[in-house]
């Protein structure tokens, strides 16, 4: 699925996409949060950019761990520790590897979800990034287990994540800042679910 070079390529694209979608993500957060999700993530991935030149000499696990630590120490807010935890857990999983396959990726999603659920004390259906992550993981896993087609599996994952975003519009937030809005949060999509989908799309396109 991906070697170190490919992973770096994907990270590169995520950095660029987050930057490009910064205002959009912030605008989403403005409606039901505090209007900084795009700013936060962009600050984090800009910082990741500054350590990118160290990646080539690292294994995939070390790269993901370094990204996780960078995100934790620069993003702040709720999403910083959550995405940071996801990358750090993924790094621990892929420790020493210079190649990863689809099964690695599926497991990586799983440990990310577990890490985020534990840190954020959240479950599915609370209008968070988990509502894109969990369906994406499940769809990728099901599709890949069915026919072993990686591309198809990733397409299914993105589709599920996008449906997850739509789903967040229909529910009341019970975690994060959007929960203060109660009923008023209905009708608006979750910024974190949106940013996760953006990252998954980079994998789909390049892996």
């Amino acid at each position: 699925m991906a070697d170190v070079k490919k992973v770096i390529e994907i990270i590169d694209k995520i950095i660029a996409d987050v930057d490009e979608q910064k205002l959009f993500l912030t605008e989403l957060d403005n409606v039901i949060g505090d209007g900084d999700h795009g700013i936060n993530l962009a600050r984090g991935f800009d910082a990741v950019k500054t350590i990118e030149d160290t990646f080539e000499s690292k294994d995939i696990g070390a790269i993901l761990k370094a990204i996780g630590m960078k995100l934790v120490s620069t993003v702040g807010g709720a999403s910083g520790p959550l995405y940071g935890t996801a990358f750090m857990k993924s790094g621990a999983l892929l420790n020493g590897k210079t190649e990863m396959d689809m099964n690695d990726f599926i497991e990586m999603l799983q440990v990310s979800i577990d890490g985020i659920m534990k840190r954020g004390k959240a479950v599915k259906g609370e209008k968070t990034m988990l509502d894109a992550m969990i369906p994406a993981h499940d769809a990728i896993k099901a599709s890949y287990e069915a026919d072993g087609d990686a591309k198809k599996a990733l397409d299914a994952g993105v589709k599920a994540a996008e449906e997850g975003i739509e789903y967040t519009k229909t529910i009341i937030a019970t975690k994060g800042r959007a929960s203060y809005l109660g009923e008023r949060s209905i009708g608006h999509q979750d910024p974190g679910a949106t940013s996760f989908t953006l990252m998954l799309k980079a994998v789909q396109e390049l892996a």
Binding site: N30, G35, P81, G176, S179, Y180, L181
Partner: protein
């Protein structure tokens, strides 16, 4: 966006630098980031650390000093600080007696502070405890939310727990009194004008010329409702009603804080207090002490919050203890 700043990505740094340069007798900045600690480390006591996003000045750096905080960590505007910075703050102020973190109840703050506490415990064996302030009655404390937000009432936690720590109490005792303040403090705010996060460039919400937002949070988060602007007295009555319904203040003594959100003229805060004092007097609630000013702001948001703290003898005594910080001084 019309602001007196230099560059959007420099506001946090330059704010902290400007604060530290103004008050070198009180505070200094750690090299590792926007962490402010007492100019001279106070030893032999439990250390208090707080923090949160920038944009709430003087909170929290302005409350670092004698009788209040030992450290304050400032994140980006309206964004929780990161665990590494909080961790550095914890390490800098711990003196073997343990550290109490005063955290406002936002997912981001709670997650980042807890991660930092884990780091300090795991890597340095520092005993770190936490209280989570959740005084904002504008949002419901129910199983289906992350609970009430932490707002201006936090300053009373700093003052009272800080005074007890200064007297040499144990970490458990300091945590207990901080929790007692939290259990007895309630706040509600409103705004007539939004604020603009510098990096965003656009106001966080919109209000028409004749509209106000009741129950606003300190990041401009909505609360109860948007409605036509009323008189100061009517607004006060609405806020007080919610606060007084939340816990039973009858027959008790209270500390009152009328907190400006950043661009509310003091004249208007006094007009607000005029009504608050009258309503409390009518209800037989005795005002022990009133604070009027800017304690927990939201950049240039225009509006105010009312905080009521139900006091007992211990809290009264600690409220009156000497404090000497850039933003709050209580003379003995």
């Amino acid at each position: 966006m019309k602001k007196i700043i230099n560059a959007v990505d420099q506001v946090e740094n330059q704010m902290i630098e400007g604060m530290v340069k103004a008050f070198p007798q009180y505070v200094k900045k750690l090299d590792c980031g926007n962490v402010v600690v007492r100019a001279e480390k106070k030893t032999g006591k439990v250390a208090l650390i707080s923090g949160g996003g920038s944009g709430h000045e003087p909170a929290h750096g302005g409350f670092v000093g004698k009788g209040m905080l030992d450290a304050a960590v400032a994140g980006a505007v309206f964004t929780s600080p990161t665990p590494d910075q909080i961790y550095e703050g914890i390490k800098a102020v711990d003196d073997g007696k343990g550290v109490l973190m005063v955290v406002k109840n936002y997912t981001g703050d709670v997650l980042n502070f807890e991660m930092a506490a884990e780091m300090a415990a795991d890597m340095d064996g520092i005993e770190v405890k936490e209280v989570v302030v959740n005084d904002d009655v504008a949002v419901q404390d129910s199983l289906y939310t992350t609970g009430r937000r932490g707002v201006a009432g936090t300053v009373f936690v700093h003052k009272i727990a800080g005074a007890l720590a200064e007297k040499g109490a144990s970490l458990d005792e300091v945590q207990a009194v901080a929790q007692k303040v939290i259990d007895n403090v309630r706040t509600m705010g409103m705004a007539i004008k939004p604020c603009t996060v510098p990096a965003a460039g656009e106001p966080g919400f919109e209000l028409a010329d004749d509209e106000m937002e009741i129950g606003i949070g300190i990041h401009g988060e909505p609360g109860v409702e948007k409605k036509p602007l009323e008189t100061a007295d009517e607004i006060v009555d609405t806020l007080l009603e919610k606060i007084l319904a939340d816990i039973d203040y009858s027959g008790s003594e209270v500390a009152v804080m009328i907190n400006g959100c950043g661009s509310t003229p003091l004249m208007e805060l006094f007009i607000v207090n005029n009504r608050v004092a009258d309503v409390l007097a009518e209800k037989g609630i005795k005002v022990y002490k009133t604070m009027v000013g800017e304690y927990m702001t939201s950049l240039e948001m225009e509006g105010f919050s009312i905080t009521l703290l139900r006091l007992d003898d211990q809290m009264k005594e600690l409220l009156d203890e000497e404090a000497d910080t850039p933003a709050l001084t209580v003379a003995k």
